[in-house]
Homo-oligomer: 297 residues x 2
């Protein structure tokens, strides 16, 4: 439930000029206004499931987007049942200046988002149909400019070659492929909430750079409660991150009974050291691992 | 729209152990949690109209009431169209431990709330059907205890007499009526938002002790905008309070463009001096005017 000083869990991601939102509980638009990213660039909303604390902020968000003059289409992904709920909530947001598509997706579904990221879905185990999400941001192969210079290829042709296309230059065939470096690791993130840590989930999340995962209960003594209510403890989330080989774990979606999640931090840290206890406004910039571009200040 | 540091307008009223809520935009339950009045005693919700900023918090509130173990019935009053919207929003609050009645009301409707207050309705003028509300809290006539003592009426009979009932004592008829003082003024409040200040509204609000009224625009230069968008300026709200003979005016429902409503305070004060510019958490206790009971500390 939304508490004074603790907003409901959601995740906002910005990439290639587009925003992607994961979950939209009551009030989500309020802290968003302090981030400064605006509402107009939101192209995609990924909903984990149809419980009120994950979707009740949707009508207000749609109004905020309309007020921000969004006109490009918007897609909402969610588990089966999403269309019915979103249509119902639109009773108070009936007229929008953008096309809104609702796409009900399940395990093995893949979708391409504006900007090119690939979304993937894995069915969670909750009291309602529930989706876990993974987003992959591919990285292009490096263009071997030094080789192009060596071969005295004029700059006019570089753009084509950078895309891997071949070019004929004074009767000489230049193979784009030969001017590209080896494949490079992209970036990936996982968003997992309101599910048990079921079989196959770690494999689905294999190697993600950041896993944003629920940790409803901090105390291992609440393990039974977590199992009954289809949630996870901090320890279970940490086990999942370790099994997935994630680089970093952010815990979120704390039970209202967990008034200070930091108290239980050690229950995750001893299993997965790179764990951050989430808080309102937690932000990070992910960069390609072998990026040779010096960081900007 | 809900802003960081400015919640959407709503009013929570407590009387005789019952709570009445006026309007429920996104996030309303969050500051409520800091008031300390709980959710379990909320018996009545009066909705002005079906725009999202006045009703989007309803599903979350219903969940909060369920979590607070409310089991007594709850009534939602609103203009025609309320039932359709509330039913739709219940897509994400389908199961409740209390009976929820939706009562669509219009001008001249009266309803009695748990605790005995009388609710009255006046059709506003907005872009959707819109209700203004008035609540009257009657005050019983004073029991003339000194007279009862003079007539040596045993205490056992006082309760009946206090309710104005007659009593026969050793063959002697004691008229309850004769032991009650003159009628006493009760308390009344008005809640008016998202409407133009139309004919008849001041009469409807005649003599209210507190008028909580929208003042969407502070600057009289926005008068035309107020008329077009079916809202009021501070000046118009102050004129309404003056015409109604209200004792006090609270302004609320400021346009997001009005970042500091206090700047425009003088536009209301010069017309209606007892004006307060609303803010999150503004609270007052209203007491019967001629109350002879010393105030409690």
């Amino acid at each position: 439930m939304p508490l004074p000083n603790r907003w409901l869990s959601s995740l906002l991601l910005r990439s290639s000029g587009h925003l992607v939102l994961f979950d939209c509980g009551e009030g989500t638009q309020i802290p968003w206004r302090t981030v400064g990213w605006g509402f107009r660039r939101l192209s995609t909303i990924c909903l984990s499931h149809m419980h009120a604390d994950h979707v009740a902020g949707l009508p207000g968000l749609l109004h905020a987007m309309a007020n921000a003059d969004r006109t490009d289409p918007v897609t909402i992904y969610g588990p089966p049942g999403t269309a019915t709920v979103v249509h119902a909530l639109r009773a108070i947001a009936p007229v929008l200046p953008f096309e809104l598509t609702i796409s009900e997706v399940e395990s093995n579904a893949q979708f391409v988002m504006p900007g090119g990221a690939i979304g993937k879905v894995f069915n969670g185990d909750h009291r309602l149909p529930c989706n876990c999400y993974r987003l992959d941001f591919a990285r292009g192969r490096r263009f071997l400019a030094e080789k192009a210079e060596e071969q005295q290829i004029p700059l006019d042709y570089w753009n084509q070659l950078q895309r891997g296309q071949d070019v004929t230059l004074d009767g000489r065939l230049i193979e784009g492929e030969a001017l590209l470096g080896p494949p490079r690791k992209g970036l990936s993130i996982g968003f997992v909430t309101d599910t048990r840590p079921i079989d196959g989930l770690a494999a689905f999340l294999a190697g993600v750079d950041l896993l944003v995962c629920e940790g409803t209960y901090g105390d291992p003594a609440d393990q039974q409660k977590a199992a009954e209510r289809k949630h996870m403890t901090f320890g279970e989330a940490a086990e999942l991150a370790r099994a997935a080989g994630a680089s970093a774990l952010w815990l979120t979606h704390f039970s209202p009974a967990v008034s200070n999640p930091l108290e239980f931090r050690h229950n995750a840290l001893r299993i997965f050291p790179n764990t951050t206890i989430g808080f309102s406004g937690l932000t990070a910039t992910l960069s390609f691992a072998d990026d040779e571009v010096p960081p900007q200040n």
